[in-house]
């Protein structure tokens, strides 16, 4: 299981959007009465956030670190990861995250780059244990 690199900070909390997972189907009848039925469990919570990566923080290019983490450890977002900020900043107990879609660079200046991320969050027990590995260099 991949772990969020210690040299990269957590996503910015400013503008952090979090939507709880929905396992219910809501239908509105012609009379106006709503009918809500739950059909399962395990829909992940969805977070939209911005990750600010500095190009020279204590001699480390965080953009390169994140790109390597996303490309290799996460296998372009296929694998789930554990991160300290999922628990301490968001209040989840024993949850994992997964980057969905491809991170979009919204700001890229000399000092830093902002990546717009969409992350889904799920209980660790419901996440796959094995990681997908893509041969590097092939």
């Amino acid at each position: 299981m991949a772990t969020w690199p210690t040299t990269i900070s957590a996503p910015l909390l400013d503008g952090f959007d979090l939507t709880f997972g929905e396992n219910a189907v809501y239908r509105k009848a012609q009379s106006g009465r709503g009918e809500s039925v739950r059909y399962g469990s395990g829909a992940p919570d969805r977070a939209k956030c911005t990750l600010r990566l500095w190009k020279n923080r204590n001699g480390i290019n965080q953009v390169d670190t994140f790109n390597a983490f996303f490309n290799v450890d996460l296998c372009l977002g296929v694998n789930w990861f554990s991160a300290w900020w999922i628990g301490s900043s968001l209040g989840y107990a024993d949850h994992k995250g997964k980057i969905v879609g491809h991170p979009k660079v919204s700001v890229d200046c000399k000092l830093y780059a902002d990546f717009a991320l969409t992350i889904i969050i799920k209980k660790s027990s419901a996440c796959p244990v094995d990681d997908t590995v893509w041969p590097v260099g092939v």
Binding site: F16, D17, L18, F20, E22, G32, G34, R38, D45, L90
Partner: protein
């Protein structure tokens, strides 16, 4: 009926959006409408400001576990919002947005009328 948790704010932000969900025989036919309901359902979006992270997780647990995402519940602020004998049901998952050190949460609810009763328990249909 399940109660709104006491650990969460007992009243939402003052400004909220509110629209009747039904009440007429034909919503689109403006010339030939008839009223069909005494107490039509209302679709309301409430805002809760400055929730702490534990409160956010308490709301999540209330929505997902206590309500199973679908059950109706009663809330203490409805009478002051004009819903004197009503209860609520989530129509969509709550959405949280970070605001400084805390969270602002938006909840979309369907407000459903129960049976209005007086202090002795007698049904009082037709009351405003």
């Amino acid at each position: 009926m399940i109660q709104w948790p006491a650990t969460l704010p007992q009243a939402p932000f003052r400004q909220y959006s509110h629209a009747l969900a039904a009440g007429l025989s034909s919503e689109s036919d403006e010339l030939s409408q008839r009223r069909t309901r005494t107490y039509p359902e209302s679709e309301v979006e409430f805002q809760f400001k400055q929730l702490t992270t534990p409160q956010l997780q308490a709301l999540r647990s209330f929505y997902d576990v206590d309500l199973n995402q679908t059950a109706p519940f009663s809330s203490p602020w409805l009478p002051s919002a004009g819903f004197t004998h009503h209860f609520c049901q989530f129509t969509a998952p709550p959405e949280a947005k970070r605001n400084g050190l805390r969270w602002d949460v938006s909840v979309s609810l369907l407000i459903i009328a129960g049976v209005p009763t007086d202090s002795e328990g007698n049904i009082t249909y037709g009351a405003a």
